[in-house]
Symmetry: none
């Protein structure tokens, strides 16, 4: 299999390190807007770098991406950029006649009048609108194939296939106990994206009501995470699983709650109250004279870059799917989960836990597609495929998952 | 008297409105970095604008300020800018050979190793270091002549002169019950200055220990403010009175506590944790390309301008000086205070209560200097002058002060 990986940030770099240890790959081109980042990712592979090369590309330039896919005779485009580039890369893959994978879906737009009640444009809507074209082309766009969305969706399908007869609720629950030495406050993930996720209207699915939205930070609950992480306050957040799971899994309700913790929720609320979450620019004095600046960009710039914090980070991150329903006429409740210890991921791969946990999943999916264990065409989510081979492959990769009966 | 007023923000604009009703003034030039603000301040005076003119000036450009003072044959420079411009304006006045008034003193710098125990460079240190040059020039720099510092210092001197034989503690206490319609959060005073005051190490004076610092928000107490404002949680804050009062008034202890309330304290703590209180610039994308921006400037720019909120504001603000000691061998405790009702200041002057309350004091001080009731040379605080004429003048201006025996 020949792959074009677009994006050599934290997740893209971790993808090269995981893929380099697997034999299914014939060649992988790492392309980034900043060529030196792509070259650094390849160079860091050391004596495993034979099947890798670096290139420069502007992810928003569809024609340039098509040319790169053709030049390198790629079978698949793996998108590891931020969600703003989903649509041009998704379109470029279709135009070039190759398969496509991403880890986040096309962006939502809130309902103009009733943002906290009804959906506007939903996450992934722009991609699903083009499903017929992909099916006709006989190509697969496997969307939302990171850890969340991604592994969390595989867990939901696994629960439906093997653990439950009827499902009342699928609730993705994400939590961590990561701390960063030397910082009172240092998010382990892009603050720009975290603000986007947390301050957009959260989406909820109910079988008799369809998709609808709520106020930010709604339905707080304390969820007890496994492997020593413990109880963390979780709240509703806009996330792809809520849009993906109901398309392939029969569940009365689907939610996503993010374990932000009291302190982080308080900080996000303060940013919102002060108008510092906004992307619309304000005018301020700069060294170049009065200029227009997005407050959210300043918030990101004032914090340390999370990709550089791996060495100072301690603790574990947990992604998982809580499912409630019945099996053989009896109530059942399970939490299917995947935990990564930062110390382990830093030692084994030189990647911090959160980006490494995202990166392993698209590599495993590519391996199943290369082997023919997963096949499909059209625009499909991770829950459209048989879950067992994927979960077994994680174990083979040395990163097992867990099941807790509640 | 001919005056150069630098700064046509909320306080500067209120100064023009108050001064326009007094006859001691021959001419006042309002100068601002943004000429349109200065012109707007003058235009708003209507048929009282004869003795006023507008100019553009960069307050950090000493030579330009000297030129403006000379061109308009000014007797005095009144500084109504933020504290960053204290030193260039103070120096420009000395260079031009004119008197100088401000409402905040030169900035402090925390002790590099033990910021929350000992003082580094204190508020006003840079100004007092030049006291000899002012005295030799025969000119007066009257520093800290707003409401707090300013009127609060006059109250301290009045207490020492007329109400007490011995003073145990002078405690400035500031509180309000102002709310702003339509905003979850809208500070009624410059957020830039509020951050500076509240996140710097608070300074305390004790006669047997001298000046020392504490942790931010230390020694919380609930103080009961008069005229219906009621109890408000107050905490130690860095403020000029603590540096000024002990130079002229004999007191065993001097403190300043600000009635911030829980919610505001929480927001300030968050800004600090996120590094958004910093003035040191970060690099961000702007419409002019990557530029250096001070995060604190962005916080200020993202909030509504407090000077524009008067119409939506309700409630009263109180500034005052609590004094504890003995008189004729008996314990005594008084609170000397000044309250402004926003509805009144908006109706009478079109200025919101907090900026109006600041602005009245330098105008009254100028009037006493013009009349020769106050005279002096060198760098002096408000408590260096006889307090009675000042307190009587406030009554004449229609804004009386109060005394509460505790």
């Amino acid at each position: 299999m020949r792959v074009l990986l677009v994006g050599a940030g934290g997740v893209g770099t971790a993808i090269t390190r995981i893929a380099a240890r697997r034999s299914f790959l014939d060649h992988l081109v790492v392309a980034d807007y900043d060529l030196s980042r792509a070259e650094a990712a390849v160079a860091a592979l050391g004596d495993r770098k034979d099947r890798f090369s670096a290139a420069r590309v502007d992810a928003s330039d569809e024609a340039a991406v098509v040319a790169l896919l053709t030049e390198h005779r790629c079978d698949v485009l793996l998108n590891a950029t931020d969600p703003r580039f989903v649509m041009p890369l998704f379109q470029a893959a279709l135009a070039a006649g190759v398969h496509y994978l991403d880890m986040a879906m096309s962006l939502s737009h809130p309902h103009p009048e009733r943002p906290y009640e009804v959906c506007g444009v939903k996450l992934g809507d722009d991609q699903f609108a083009r499903a017929d074209a992909w099916a006709e082309a006989g190509k697969l766009a496997l969307v939302g194939m990171g850890v969340e969305p991604g592994l969390s969706d595989v867990f939901a399908r696994y629960a439906a296939d093997e653990l439950f007869d009827e499902i009342e609720e699928v609730g993705i629950r994400d939590g961590a106990n990561l701390t960063v030495e030397g910082y009172d406050f240092a998010p382990s993930f892009s603050i720009w994206t975290t603000i986007e996720e947390c301050l957009n209207p959260p989406v909820v699915y109910e079988a008799d009501r369809g998709w609808y939205t709520t106020e930010p930070f709604s339905e707080p609950e304390v969820f007890d995470f496994p492997e020593g992480i413990g109880p963390v306050e979780c709240v509703n957040v806009e996330h792809e699983e809520v849009l993906l799971v109901p398309r392939w899994v029969d569940a009365k309700r689907v939610t996503f709650k993010y374990g932000l913790g009291d302190d982080f929720i308080g900080k996000l609320k303060t940013l919102h109250a002060l108008g510092l979450d906004r992307t619309a620019p304000v005018t301020v004095a700069t060294d170049l004279g009065p200029a227009r600046v997005s407050p959210r960009d300043v918030v990101a710039a004032a914090l340390p870059d999370p990709a550089t914090l791996g060495e100072r980070m301690h603790g574990k991150t947990c992604a998982g799917t809580w499912v409630k329903g019945t099996k053989d006429g009896r109530p059942r409740e399970v939490y299917l989960y995947h935990v990564v210890d930062n110390q382990w991921s830093m030692r084994e791969y030189g990647s911090q836990a959160v980006v490494w946990q995202t990166a392993i999943n698209p590599v495993a999916a590519l391996e199943l597609l290369a082997a023919g264990a997963w096949t499909g065409k059209g625009v499909l989510g991770p829950e459209a495929f048989p879950p067992r081979p994927f979960l077994d492959l994680l174990v083979e990769y040395g990163s097992p998952w867990g099941l807790r009966e509640q």
